[in-house]
Amino acid sequence: MTTIAPPNSPPALSHRLANGLTVIGEPSDAFESAAFTLLTPSGCRYDPDDRLGLASLTCEMMLRGAGSRDSRALVNDLDAMGVEHTETVGISHATFSASSLADSLEPALALYADVVRRPHLPADQLEQGRQVCLQEVYGVEDEPSQKLMNELRRQHYPSPWGRASCGDEAGLNAVTQDEILAFQASHYGPEGSILAVAGRFDWQELLRVAERLFGDWAPTPLTRTPPNRSTTGSRHLPFEGSQCHIGIAYPSVAYRDPEYFQAWSAVGVLSSGMSSRLFTEVREKRGLCYTVYASLQSQVDRAAVLCYAGTTAERAQETLDVTYAELIRLAEGVTVEELGRLKARIKSALILQQESTASRAGTLARDWRHLGRVRSMVEVGELIDAVTADTINAYLAKNPPRDFTMVTLGPEPLRLK
């Protein structure tokens, strides 16, 4: 029996345009708003090694005017339509997300169709765009925990899968206008792109709009960059400050793996809620730090558990020892009580997520990207109901946390005992 799925959650609808763009929709009259997420296969994994930041700079330039609008009109019109929006570049995809009152859905989609299909990429603004991207690179230097986690991913995953999409100073400085034009032309196309919409809209009308806006988008053959396995391993970054930041990663299973929910639940026992193991052992019992967590981060073909703890330098070795001991102890298994609490949290999280159109649109797009379909809430409920302490423990017996990568940032290096 399913206990997780909320009432009235019909399955999502999907349709593939002839050119390869997938449209997914979850209409609901319970909202006044509508939100969309548009994924395009234009992430930083396609950056050449000596042009790190190319995908990011291209995305930045695409927002500087598109279709009939110049740079200023584009931003002003989004404001005037009351569209909340973000644009980000990840490893594999660029993501364009927008939410607004239902009336603005269609004009907002039309504007983003211009951005991905008809950007001006104004050469006279290239230096400004480059500066914006460089500022982001400099800004990370002043955020030690983010700098640490960027480095942890870089050390843990084979290149290009651990890249930080902001790139680096040398790469950004080397990018030319022609390279931006070429990247835009070859990495923005319908094949592999996903448009997911949630909230108040009509599905048939959405399909007509999508056909009109994207139907004649000509496919661009995807260039596949072979992974270039670089040296990975643990390292220490010297940093003058009172704090030491600790990052530990270990391999896990991806979202589409049949055992994903076992791995995900095991990490939940470690770090979901204030009665979870890391919070209890590191913070509550010993007062070692303010922030400690672990989370399962999944790409399509690989995944890792990433742990973080930030503490004062004098207590850093003890913090590491206690955190690491909990990772090792996880292999001994979880209890029925721990899993019971976790399931209560998962159940309410799934339902709270239903209350935000932006969050639903993001989930629909993620499901499609990882699975090639959308899991209904009923199916998610069944998958979670099927997880028991025994199934998690069987998974952990086969896949104990191991093969750790550790990165520390602080005055002194630490030792994994």
């Binding site: 404001d79 005037a80 500022q135 400099y138 704090q243 209890t280 070692l288 209560a344 709270l352 209350e355």
Partner: protein, 410 residues
């Protein structure tokens, strides 16, 4: 959507915005206390006390508290500001009774000395964490520069020294003084059973002895002081600009929000086009913050160290440039659509409504619907915005710069 309200005999108010079609509910105890209510010997105690609320009661150990919140599947937390301390949870409506019992119970904590000493370590870690991140505690410092000895300038976290020196007795005495039922509002939003809520609140909190709590609200005075602080470890240079603004009770607060949006929103504002879009600065933004009897216009700038002089000059030119470049109707309308859309989008989640409804009640003892807020924004005219910028000149403010450089001329 229906607003309900009832006061318990001991003075504790229970309010709710009931939405029977919501999937979830959110509930929170809003305590009218924060750093502005502290004296020197208690600096940081409000925030420390917030941590201590999760450390156990006569009926529950600290482990019980954390475990029970998790068993309810609650997404819960607490925060402390200059004037409020809020304990909240969002969860499924089926757990309303349990969560009120739990939240009500933790608001009468044991405050054991050994837990106090353990949590002191966590607070000191939290302070160190912020001191390692730009602008390195200067956000507290600039409040003192601008507002002098006005209580709003007090630090929420306190300092390592004040926290180290704090005693459990001082905390207990502060608790007795500030957590009186007349100083607490229990607010709820979403799919709430209000009759049950009142009964549950009575059971959990009805025995709290009625006591009065007072807050000083002296008239603020603003200073325009400038200071350059050298911080070699920083990569970027930061500038914080702080001045007075319409207070929480003022009807001009809507005009103030729109003024801040036009001049300094993250995108599409005058600061954005002059400084951020051009890549001259990493960020440049202006926000309006309102409190009881006092308001703040707070500008934040970060950029490469060698560009701080022209960027700061440009920022001040934008903030003080309304006379030369008057605000237009188009700018005002654009700011209105932006702010109104944010109000509506965020209102779809009961948790966001909780903060709005509860915060509004603490500040003004009124209930405002989403439609009320939208109408107030719609009603703002250009002359209202100009009046605000005339009354609170945005370029006559205190400024602190932090970063590797302090060798520049103002």
């Amino acid at each position: 959507m229906q607003f309900r309200r009832q006061t318990l005999d001991n003075g504790l108010e229970v309010i709710a915005e009931v939405n029977p079609t919501a999937l979830s509910m959110a509930v929170g105890f809003f305590v009218q206390t924060g750093s502005r209510d502290e004296c020197d010997q208690e600096a940081g105690v409000s925030h420390f006390l917030e941590h201590m609320m999760f450390k156990g009661t006569a009926r529950r150990s600290a482990e019980d508290v954390n475990r029970e919140f998790d068993e309810l599947g609650a997404h819960y937390n607490a925060f402390t500001s200059e004037e409020n301390t809020v304990y909240y949870a969002s969860l499924l409506p089926e757990h309303q009774a349990e969560v009120i019992d739990l939240l009500g119970d933790i608001l009468r904590p044991s405050l054991r000395t050994e837990d106090f000493e353990m949590e002191k370590k966590v607070i000191l870690e939290e302070i160190e964490m912020y001191l390692d991140q730009p602008p390195y505690g200067m956000d507290d410092h600039i409040k003192t520069l601008c507002f002098g000895d006005h209580p709003i300038a007090r630090s929420v976290l306190g300092t390592s020294e004040s926290i180290t020196a704090l005693t459990p007795e001082a905390m207990r005495s502060y608790f007795e003084r500030r957590y009186a039922p007349g100083n607490v509002v229990l607010a709820a939003s979403g799919r709430v059973d209000f009759e049950a809520l009142v009964a549950q609140a009575e059971a959990a909190c009805g025995h709290w002895p009625a006591l009065a709590a007072r807050r000083e609200t002296p008239t603020p005075r603003y200073a325009a002081v400038r200071e350059a602080v050298c911080q070699q470890a920083a990569t970027q240079q930061y500038a914080l600009l702080l001045g007075g603004a319409p207070a929480g009770e003022s009807t001009d607060r809507y005009a103030a929000k729109l003024l801040a949006t036009i001049l300094g929103d993250d995108t599409g504002s005058r600061l954005y086009w002059r400084l951020v879009d051009s890549g001259r600065a990493e960020s440049a933004s202006l926000g309006h913050y309102d409190y009881q009897g006092v308001g703040m216009f707070y500008t934040w700038l970060s950029c490469e160290p060698e560009t701080i002089e022209p960027n700061l000059a440009e920022t001040l030119a934008v903030l003080g440039g309304i006379e030369q470049e008057p605000l237009t109707t188009e700018e005002l309308n654009q700011a209105k659509s932006k702010v109104k859309s944010r109000v509506v989008l965020s209102s779809e989640r009961p948790r966001n409504r909780l903060f709005n409804v509860g915060g509004n009640w603490l500040m003004r003892e009124t209930y405002r619907t989403v439609a009320d807020d939208l109408a107030a924004l719609d009603g703002v005219q250009l002359e209202d915005v100009h009046r605000v910028s005339d009354s609170y000149p945005l370029d006559k403010v205190s400024i602190v710069t932090v970063g590797p450089r302090n060798d520049f001329r103002w």
